[in-house]
Symmetry: C2
Amino acid sequence: MVDAAQHRSAVRRSGMRDVARAAGVSISTVANVLNNPAVVADATRRRVEEAMAAVGFVRSGPARQLRGLPSRLVGSVTLDQANPFYAELNRGIEDRLDEAGCLVLACSTDLEPDKERRVLRLLEEQSPRGIIVTPTGENLDELQAIARRGTPVVLLDAPRGALDLCAVTVDHVTGGRLAGEHLLALGHLRIAFVSGTWDVPPVRERLEGLRRAMAEHGAAPPIEVRMAPGDLFRGTEEAVVALLALEASAVVCLNDITAVAVVRALERRGVRVPADVSVVGYDDVPFAAHVRPALTTVRRPIRDLGRAAADLLLAELIPTHRHEELTFAPELVARATTSRRPMPGT
Amino acid sequence: MVDAAQHRSAVRRSGMRDVARAAGVSISTVANVLNNPAVVADATRRRVEEAMAAVGFVRSGPARQLRGLPSRLVGSVTLDQANPFYAELNRGIEDRLDEAGCLVLACSTDLEPDKERRVLRLLEEQSPRGIIVTPTGENLDELQAIARRGTPVVLLDAPRGALDLCAVTVDHVTGGRLAGEHLLALGHLRIAFVSGTWDVPPVRERLEGLRRAMAEHGAAPPIEVRMAPGDLFRGTEEAVVALLALEASAVVCLNDITAVAVVRALERRGVRVPADVSVVGYDDVPFAAHVRPALTTVRRPIRDLGRAAADLLLAELIPTHRHEELTFAPELVARATTSRRPMPGT
DNA sequence: TTGAAAGCGCTAACAT
DNA sequence: ATGTTAGCGCTTTCAA
């Protein structure tokens, strides 16, 4: 007689029960060789180990979690895992988690609050060890609620002190300032800032830093050019048109991807970079050094951010844990898209 | 009186039990509003739903899996999720899985068989819905064993017909051929091929395609230059030295990253691309169009590969499922790193 | 040194 | 329309 369950799938993972039967011992002995081998007699242990190999035993994570053991899953919610910045970030997270035997669940929100909410819910249902998230900003209360329900949350690039959670951030005001000071030192006075379609704090702060640097140098405030919604290509074209109308001699972009797109759009219009217009990016993603002209940009230590976030997350398991906020310093990397302001009229 | 469990953590997720108590119904009624809402009286359903909100109910994925329901986790094992190719691939996988309410566990092996083995084991223990893997090639038997134990495995970029599993591949022989024919058409006769440190089939096949194209045109066979182990920088420098010694007028690289590095190394030595030497990449990762000179490369539809792999994986749940092998065609994208062979002596 | 038994949160078959 | 119950694979007391 063959029952329905066996029919449904010819393959079935064998569990401790099967190992126990194969080795002729009880389930708890199998549990002991797994979790407390010292207590098991050598001969028995060997017998059990052979049985494990023979039946192809694989421990069940879900069952262990159900018993209350810490999960080995960690969620990472970014705006887009294909974006080189977040790809690097996830790798940093993965590297640190790997040392702790944990795996990363990589999710993208595309900066859509609804998608973020869906993904967060899905993640929480897996009872992960925790969630590292670059928030869209629209679900901060939800994130706090998740933490309250027992799933640790680590924020990345969220406004400082926004929530009672662990967080790792970059001092974006300083980042914007660095870009500004670099350009001011090169003699630029009319500087534009290309921001994204959505108004997120980490970008606001860069603009604010730029504004401060310019104010301190007695220059006119930066002119914000917001990218049109839709694809990067269209948005950039329109931004560049606006840019040229403004007659700015330099432009700071919200990130490297946009900066490269802006450089291309300028070149297509016969505007030379940096001879006619200087361009500064943000992040220093790996390809920034490889485009031509090589991109001047504000670097943040991307993998370190990921590693730090993972560290904070793992530390949440410690009973005496207190929430902590880590801030990294950005750094200007001068390359070939910036140069001295051209003499007017030449 | 407060018991130990409560002490250990102030926060505790509430389960169906708590909802049932709060709503004054049995657990199965809660289960019904979750899984079979039509059968529940309207008033009761509302009461239960309110209770769920009130206690902050989150369904337990692990518990559901333990009951034998399909997991919502899918593993994706690539060589390096920070590599733009695999970052794109993972995004394609994520997009398709998202529609099925599944999440992707992104893992990197760095082409290290040991790491791959570790990661596969960790993944299998989570009893995921399946695993999509770009194998190092050293653990193929293990992959087959995993599938036998009940976790579906989908291969990516594995040798055709290597295993009795679903697979999605690209016709790399044709890919190599396309690169070769492009260069031959431009008059190149001495062509080198830069391969990676490790000898993996998808790269072998590209070289084989190149070889065939050259043979058919009566040209001398391609000269293989293997990258030195270690970091990309060192490896590329040495490869380029070898390259120049060979006096090849064109070089095909195993992928775009290496191609860009080769272009830079050539330029550092005063060799102009494409005036003196033509360079062809492979993959057409997003930045290939943005480096300067823009990279001529063999494109594969990266996100589509990911989506297809996810589709195959999800289809494994269907009882009548048969393993399937999908092959995508590559395509040459001629940009600015290739040009007509320079006249000897000029 | 080994075994018996309870229970984690859920689903599904069955009973009411 | 709602409730009772067994059990998924594991860990963890406790007893032998």
